[in-house]
Each structure stands twice: as structure tokens, then as C-alpha cells.
Symmetry: none
Subunit: 282 residues, 2 copies
């Protein structure tokens, strides 16, 4: 029991989630859906939000190992104030200063990156994403994951989106295939691999439009691209942050889908239905 006392409400719910009866599960869903906020609600409110009886509430909290609802409420309130400024101050170990400082930095680069976006370029690039017959994507290292991510989002609502093999492999053979109807999206956060400029030059030579996403240390590269978006990557910490680039990628996907209109939505729904049929997700 002493052990039990330390565990959070969410954890307790997850532990027993499979065995929960219907009504209690409905209630559990509501609780999980309002993280940390449990203490702000009365049990009556929670149960009515879940559409179950108050009795179900009492039963659930008993099952989770609480003597009564108030015990759960207090626990929720205490663990909640862990992250509050007040608590941080009290502990004052650089440990916590580290995490909140880290968060501040993440937000800073995010804001800066978006503030410096060129809206005209953004508009044109989005139009191109929808208009392009085929889209190719590339990037190495960290950028490799970004490219994969964006591709995954785009294929939710349009076809013919491909990731190219990492630069340095056998990318050469693809080059001859590029046409002005295509679009090449290049993620090139540092550290970039050598030879990227030559690749871009070749693609540009074939008339294909190029969308480049890179960071402020890029030199020369933007000269080859039709549209360039610069995201910040440098914070005080050792590894670079590619959060801003990820956010930008998501924005591109969302906005492109939005502009794609009914056709894109139809595709999205088709994919969605396919997933359901295959019962692939859970």
C-alpha cells in the first residue's frame, strides 16, 4: 500500500484499464482526457461528463486503490504542482532549471523560425506541392527523419511521394528522371553531407523546382533552390534542435491538405477507411 501511494492516478488507471467495466472505463477515459486537471473537478462533474452514475465514480476510485475520492483529488493536486513555477523555485536544483530552460530554448527557436518565414515563398511552395506530378524528398542524418516524416504526412492525401536514397548512395541514377512537373524537397539541416550542392545543381539543370529547408549556416545552397525556408537549430545544448523544421513540415502538410480541397480529403478518407478495414491500428 505504501508503494501504491506513490503511483499516479493515470498509472493506476492504465494498470487496470483492461479489466475495467464499461461504465468505469468511460469515466477513466474522461479522466485521462483531462490530464492533471482532475483536482479541479468534483466527482459529480466527472461522472456526468462521462455520462455515468455517481456510483460508478466511487467504484472506480475504490478499484484504483483509493479510500475515497478526496484521497485521489489530493494526490492529483500534489503531483500537478510538480511542474508549477512554485515547485520549481523550491527545488531550485539546476536539474529543474535545466528542463525549464531547455523548454524555453525550444520555444525560442520555434518562434524565431516561424517569424522569419517568407510568406510569399510559403504560398508558392504550397501551391507547388499540390500541383506537382511527383514529389521526391531527401535528407541525411537528422534531416533523413524529417524527410520521412513529411513524406508520411503527404501520402495521407496524395500519391506519388517518394524518398530518395540518402545522398552519397546511388542517387545519381534518379537524377536523369527529374522533370519540371516534379518537385524536390530537400531537408538540409547541419551537418550536411558533402556534395549536396552538386546534386541540387543537377536537378535545377533539369528544370525541376526545388524546395529547400535548411538552417542559418547554409552557405550557397539556397542559390539552387526556388524556395528556401530557414529554421533555427542552435540552442545552448549539444545537439541541434530540429523541432522547428518538424513543425514547418507539419504545417506544410496541413496547409497543403487544406488547399487540396475535396480531392485531398477524399484521398484521406480513403486511406482512413483502408486502415480500418485492415484493422491495422488500435
Amino acid at each position: 500500500m505504501g508503494e501504491q501511494r506513490a503511483r499516479s492516478i493515470e498509472t493506476r488507471i492504465h494498470d487496470q484499464y483492461a479489466e475495467l467495466p464499461d461504465s468505469e472505463r468511460k469515466l477513466a477515459d474522461v479522466i485521462l482526457g483531462s490530464p492533471g486537471d482532475l483536482s479541479a473537478y468534483t466527482a459529480t462533474e466527472l461522472t456526468s461528463l462521462a455520462g455515468v452514475s455517481k456510483a460508478a465514480g466511487t467504484r472506480l476510485f475504490h478499484r484504483l486503490g483509493f479510500a475515497n475520492y478526496d484521497e485521489a483529488r489530493l494526490l492529483a493536486r500534489d503531483t500537478r504542482s510538480w511542474g508549477s513555477p512554485l515547485y520549481m523555485e523550491r527545488k531550485s536544483g539546476l536539474q529543474n532549471l535545466g528542463i525549464s530552460g531547455y523548454l524555453d530554448e525550444e520555444i525560442r527557436v520555434l518562434k524565431n523560425s516561424f517569424a522569419n518565414l517568407n510568406l510569399r515563398d510559403l504560398d508558392q511552395a504550397l501551391g507547388r506541392i499540390n500541383a506537382a506530378r511527383r514529389i521526391f524528398m531527401t535528407g541525411s542524418r537528422n534531416s533523413h527523419f524529417l524527410a520521412g516524416y513529411l513524406r508520411w504526412q503527404l501520402i495521407q492525401f496524395r500519391g506519388d511521394v517518394h524518398t530518395l536514397p540518402t545522398i552519397g548512395e546511388t542517387l545519381g541514377e534518379y537524377l536523369g528522371d527529374f522533370t519540371p512537373d516534379d518537385l524536390l524537397i530537400v531537408f538540409a539541416l547541419r551537418r550536411r553531407v558533402a556534395g549536396l550542392d552538386n546534386i541540387l545543381k543537377a536537378v535545377k539543370g533539369r528544370g525541376s523546382p526545388i524546395l529547400l529547408i535548411t538552417d542559418p549556416t547554409a552557405r550557397g545552397l539556397p542559390g539552387f533552390a526556388d524556395w528556401t525556408f530557414i529554421t533555427e537549430v542552435q540552442t545552448g545544448a549539444v545537439f541541434d534542435s530540429c523541432g522547428p523544421a518538424l513543425s514547418l513540415a507539419r504545417y506544410l502538410a496541413i496547409e497543403a491538405l487544406h488547399r487540396a480541397g475535396p480531392r485531398g480529403r477524399a484521398h484521406l478518407e480513403r486511406v482512413e477507411r483502408q486502415h480500418e478495414v485492415l484493422n491495422e491500428f488500435k
Copy 2:
């Protein structure tokens, strides 16, 4: 009065602070000292914390322009849980909110996610990352990229970090190999693939510690994990945001490197030098 209704409790207090009688001022101080959390307390708790009578509580909230305490409590809750899924649901279709709205949402989920991290778990998990003999990583869909990203960061300063094949492929053959000295890191943002719970159960059965990174819609999964970090993913837009999860991954990498001390740094420098020799980067 209609205008009054929108103003926050703190503002109202400050406006009348000079005119407040002693007992009500004591109570006001307590309220100002626990910002945002007002909704988590009953009026009785607040007054007893302040060492005043309950009557003083009623009088204060009347003076601040509330019809009763409950009105103040609801206001506090709503302004705090602004943006919580529950609240969003109520607002429903806010599909298109422009680029600055998009950015705000990204920042919101980022902040919320970090605010709800369990610092104790974080501490333990970081220790485990450095102590583990081998680290395995897995994740599908969006989570696949996150897993790849984190692996890439970790191998900068330690060896034996592997990504497992996407669930559903031939992961089975790996299962028998897990030992308590290893660590499995699972990224499981929705949509998750079916069968994940069985995998986790099997790994847990072999005594391997499990670090789970998921979102609030995870049900039951955290029951199998030793440490669980929940990051928010839902904004008003179509696709989920995995920015918070990415930031968390980076934080894990940075902090783990920091704790690894000289040994980790040495490894990092060795990798660095290797890169230079190969002139791989530019």
C-alpha cells in the same frame, strides 16, 4: 458586470487589493500565491490555509464581483485548462487558424507536455539509458521517425543502440534475446499498430525495463512500462503534432550525455574526429 465576468481572479484582486480588509487580504495573498490552482481547492481549504474564517471567503468573492465561490472556481478552471482536449472538443471546428495560430498551438502542446512530465520517472529513465548494456528502440508510423532520431542522437556518445523492425514484421525473433540489462524504448504515438501490448508484455516478461513515450489516448499500455512519458499530440489541425515527443527525445539525449560524463564525451569526440577524417560533412 458583463465585462467584469471576463476578468481574471488575480486581476480583480489586484484592483481592489488596497481596499481589502485584513482577513480578506490574508486570503487574497494565499490565492495569489498558488496561481492557477484555485480551482483545485475548496473555499474551506483556502480560508483555513489563510487562517481566516469561512465567512471571510464568501465576503471576498462577493467583493470581487462573483455571485458565489463556484462562479470563481469555474472561471479559474476554464482559464487554466484552456486548450485541454476537453475544452477543445467543446469548441470543435477551429480548422483553419492561420500560421500564427498554428504556432501558438505548437507551443501550447509543447508546454503542456513538459509540464506534465514526471520528474522522478525522468530521472530514473535517464539513469537507465546510461546504465543499459544495450538499447533497443521501436515505433511505427510517425513514431518510427522519432525512434530513428533518438537512436541517431544516442549513438553519438554510446554504442549498442539499435532500432527494431517495425512491429508486425519479424520482431518476434528478437524477443527471446532481451535481458534485464537491456532497455527497450518504445515510441507509441497514435495511431498505434495493433498487438503492441502483447509485445510489451513479452518484453516485460523477460525482465527488461521499458521506457514508453506515448500520448494521452494510450490505454492500458503504460501498465507494461516502467516509465511512461505522455506528450500531447492533438491540436485543432488534422495531423497530430509530434513536436513535443521530438523535443522530449532530444532532451533525453542531451541529459543522458551530460550524465554520461567524461566517458560519453570521449565517445562523442571520437565520432566527431571520425567524421572529419572522412570529410563526410560540410
